[in-house]
């Protein structure tokens, strides 16, 4: 948003940056080898449903377009939940990080095409310690901020506490492989994640 628009009180809705998400699969090796973390098999896309078209319609559309067969046990599954702040989460489950990123990106693209790009908040990717990792590897999340096109780590240790040390360690480990959010005040807490 330009200074003029801001002074004239004409805020424009901010379009999301979708493509930087694809730097995540290429950081997977660093994550596993150096941080001892692999995907937890769950990822979520968080957005704020606006007035108008019922969210159920879009979810049906997304399900259809992602081509998720209900009978197929190996296919990634998709579900939608609302959190206590009125934001909707599309949650994708699947064993492979590449697939999760692709699915999340497809969902983002669909939501953006439905005109709801400005309502996209973040994508969250669950991480857990690899089977052979040492004790220093802690489960956590990588959060992708749509409006910034950046990632940050979020390692909750309780309903309202987070492990800043683990987060900063994660930053120093994979910070070079991912577009990391430099402004620490934007590393918002996401308590009670539904994934």
């Amino acid at each position: 948003m330009g200074l003029l628009d801001s002074i004239l009180g004409r805020t424009k809705a901010v379009a999301p940056k979708l493509d930087a998400l694809f730097s995540l699969p290429s950081a997977a090796v660093t994550l596993e080898v150096q941080a001892g973390l692999v995907t937890s098999g769950r990822a979520g896309v968080c957005w704020k449903p606006p007035a108008g078209q019922a969210p159920a319609d879009v979810q049906a559309e997304i399900s259809a377009l992602l081509d998720l067969g209900e009978g197929d046990a190996d296919a990634p599954s998709l579900r939608s939940v609302e959190d206590d702040l009125g934001f909707r989460w599309l949650i994708v489950e699947g064993a492979d990080l590449d697939d999760l990123v692709t699915q999340a990106h497809q969902a983002n693209t669909l939501l953006t095409e439905a005109g709801w790009g400005p309502q996209l908040l973040c994508s969250v990717f669950g991480l857990r310690p690899a089977p052979d990792a040492d004790a220093s590897a802690k489960a956590g999340y990588l959060v992708y901020l749509f409006k910034r096109g950046t990632f940050y780590p979020f390692c909750p240790t309780g309903p309202a506490s987070r492990d800043n040390e683990a987060e900063l360690r994660l930053k120093s480990t994979v910070g070079a492989d991912l577009p990391f959010e430099p402004d620490l005040s934007r590393w918002m807490a996401l308590w009670c994640l539904p994934l």
């Binding site: 805020t11 704020k48 108008g52 400005p118 309202a160 402004d183 005040s185």
Partner: protein
């Protein structure tokens, strides 16, 4: 935002506002009188006045928080409030302002601060108690839009013309008092009278313009806030709830807060809002106008 002008109107100030405002008024009075007495040029007085205005702008967050009794809160103290602000800022791609709570039962909220980075968003305990979480979020979106629009800076610049004109009026008055006994002809006195008249007219005009601008900024913040959360009806329902509550609260409490109207989500006094003259002097648009705009936005969203 128009803060000093409201202080000057000097009606029913609370003790806090009294302390804050009194300093400014006394400062101006002493300064103006002394400078005029020793014959300092009007240019210098204007420069000093501008410095005072700039100070109010620069410390707007501290002045408003002190005036309203707002207290900065940590995420541990107010997790929901912080989480709402977090998410709204992430949606709007803005730096997160500081978050404050005022322990008063009057339902309101305000945003202030010289820049988005130094901003504070404050909600009263009363508004948090009365509104649902979704409605509170809508109100916060409105306040965050004020921050994004740099309304403190805009309103400071807008009202500084009026403040300067007001100062010129007083200086002309003082210097005519101080010089009238010693001097001879009426030429100087006539010129001073002319300055005074012009200043009064400028002051009155700029006051009306500032109020009009303030109303426009409120509508702009309503609009941006509603678009940010994507649900204009939520902001409308918050507005209806709050204005309904506001008119039920005893007048005495409301008048104490009147000086801070320019910061507020809805003004503390909105009686006689039906008359057009009343609207001219108002910092906020009528509730009907605000609801009509939100209604139109809701229709557009549903159609698109």
């Amino acid at each position: 935002m128009g803060y000093a002008k409201h202080i000057e109107s000097d009606r029913g100030l609370t003790a806090r506002m009294f302390v804050t405002g009194l300093f400014l008024v006394i400062l101006w009075a002493i300064l103006g009188a002394v400078l005029a007495a020793v014959g300092v040029g009007i240019g210098l007085i204007v420069v000093i006045e501008l410095a005072v205005i700039f100070g109010q702008y620069w410390f707007s967050d501290k002045i408003a928080l002190f005036g309203m009794g707002g207290r900065l809160v940590t995420p541990e103290e107010e997790p929901t409030l912080h989480a709402m602000v977090d998410r709204l800022c992430a949606l709007a791609d803005m730096p997160k302002p500081r978050v404050a709570v005022a322990e008063t039962d009057m339902p309101n909220a305000f945003a202030t601060g010289r820049s988005p980075k130094a901003a504070v968003v404050c909600a009263t305990r009363g508004i948090m108690r009365r509104l649902s979480d979704e409605e509170l979020e809508a109100v916060l979106a409105h306040e965050i839009s004020h921050v994004a629009h740099r309304d403190v800076a805009v309103m400071t610049i807008a009202s500084s013309v009026g403040m300067l004109a007001g100062l010129l009026t007083r200086v002309a008055m003082w210097s005519s008092i101080f010089t009238s006994d010693s001097n001879d002809n009426g030429g100087g006195a006539l010129a001073e009278l002319a300055i005074m008249l012009v200043s009064i007219v400028v002051y009155a005009l700029s006051f009306l313009l500032t109020m009009a601008l303030s109303r426009y900024r409120e509508l702009a913040a309503d609009r941006s806030g509603a678009i940010l959360i994507g649900r204009p009806a939520l902001l409308a329902s918050a507005l209806v709830k709050i204005t309904g509550e506001m008119s039920r609260i005893p007048t005495k409490d409301l008048r104490k807060a009147e000086a801070f109207n320019a910061f507020f989500f809805t003004p503390a006094i909105n009686g006689k809002s039906g008359t057009s003259i009343g609207n001219l002097f108002s910092t906020h648009p009528t509730i009907e106008k605000r609801l009509a705009q939100l209604d139109e936005l809701e229709r557009q969203l549903n159609a698109g």
